[in-house]
């Protein structure tokens, strides 16, 4: 599997935390990246469209207790979760190689 694009990776990560609507995904991506990534709704929904076509994400019935029932909620499928795990493994391997070369992520103590 080819490495995932930043948009795909962050959307999958946001949905790994449970069902979310588009704007919640957008806010989650900003939080994950410490506001380094500033995606707009176009990127988020374009990514969701591709992920739904790939069968990694599905839209679900809007929960009854939400403030805005017009919002559509999305959730990760098993295939999406597997793809995310695979990508995290790949990134973990990259990180291990970097550590072997004494290159550590900023802010890490090791």
């Amino acid at each position: 599997m080819a490495p995932l694009t930043p948009a795909v990776l962050h959307v999958l990560l946001a949905l790994a935390g449970g069902e979310r609507h588009g704007y919640a995904i957008l806010k989650d991506v900003q939080r994950q990246s410490d506001s380094q990534l500033r995606f707009g709704p176009g990127t988020i929904y374009g990514t969701l469209q591709r992920l739904m076509e790939a069968g990694w994400v599905v839209d679900v019935k809007t929960p009854a207790d939400v403030s805005d029932p017009r919002r559509r909620y999305y959730k990760l499928t098993r295939a999406g979760r597997d793809a995310l795990k695979e990508e995290v493994d790949r990134l973990g391997a990259v990180l291990n190689v970097a550590r072997e070369h004494r290159i550590h992520p900023r802010g890490s103590k090791s």
Binding site: G42, I44, E53, D59
Partner: protein, 149 residues
């Protein structure tokens, strides 16, 4: 009052920009995108100065990128290239045949201009016809919304 008018104007502009996206994408996501934009606008307005301008910049870049990506995903550029290649090949073949044909190519400027217009019209009609023929072949299957749970 002024803030509210500005917010409404920004949302209007965003909605207009969304009309530049392919209809297949717009029909499914435009309403949600406008709602998200409005919510982001409200948040930016209530935070520090300059946040609204930063939001406008981010959204402008995002919408331009979305328009380009969605149109390229729609298959239209592929259809255009195939149609144009076929039309130009056909026009060149017709020109080769005409060179060996018995009829005389008019030397009169007026007639030559009419023939020029005819070739241009035929090529345009051919491009349109090929676009209609190729669209179902190139275009992706329509996105069917799946609802589960």
């Amino acid at each position: 009052m002024f803030r509210r008018a500005l917010r409404a104007f920004d949302i209007f502009l965003y909605r207009v920009a969304l009309w530049l996206c392919p209809s297949t994408f717009r029909r499914v996501y435009a309403d949600e995108m406008v709602r998200d934009f409005a919510e982001a606008h409200d948040e930016a307005s209530s935070s520090r100065t300059g946040a609204v301008w930063r939001l406008r910049l981010v959204m402008a870049v995002d919408i331009v990128r979305t328009i380009v990506v969605q149109w390229s995903r729609s298959g239209v550029p592929v259809i255009a290239v195939i149609s144009l290649t076929l039309a130009l090949t056909l026009a060149e073949a017709a020109a080769r045949v005409a060179r060996h044909a018995r009829f005389k190519i008019p030397t009169n400027t007026m007639d030559a201009e009419i023939i020029g217009v005819l070739i241009l019209t035929t090529t345009s009609v051919f491009v349109i016809a090929m676009t209609i023929v190729l669209t179902p072949w190139v275009a992706r299957p329509a996105y069917r919304r799946r609802r589960s749970g």
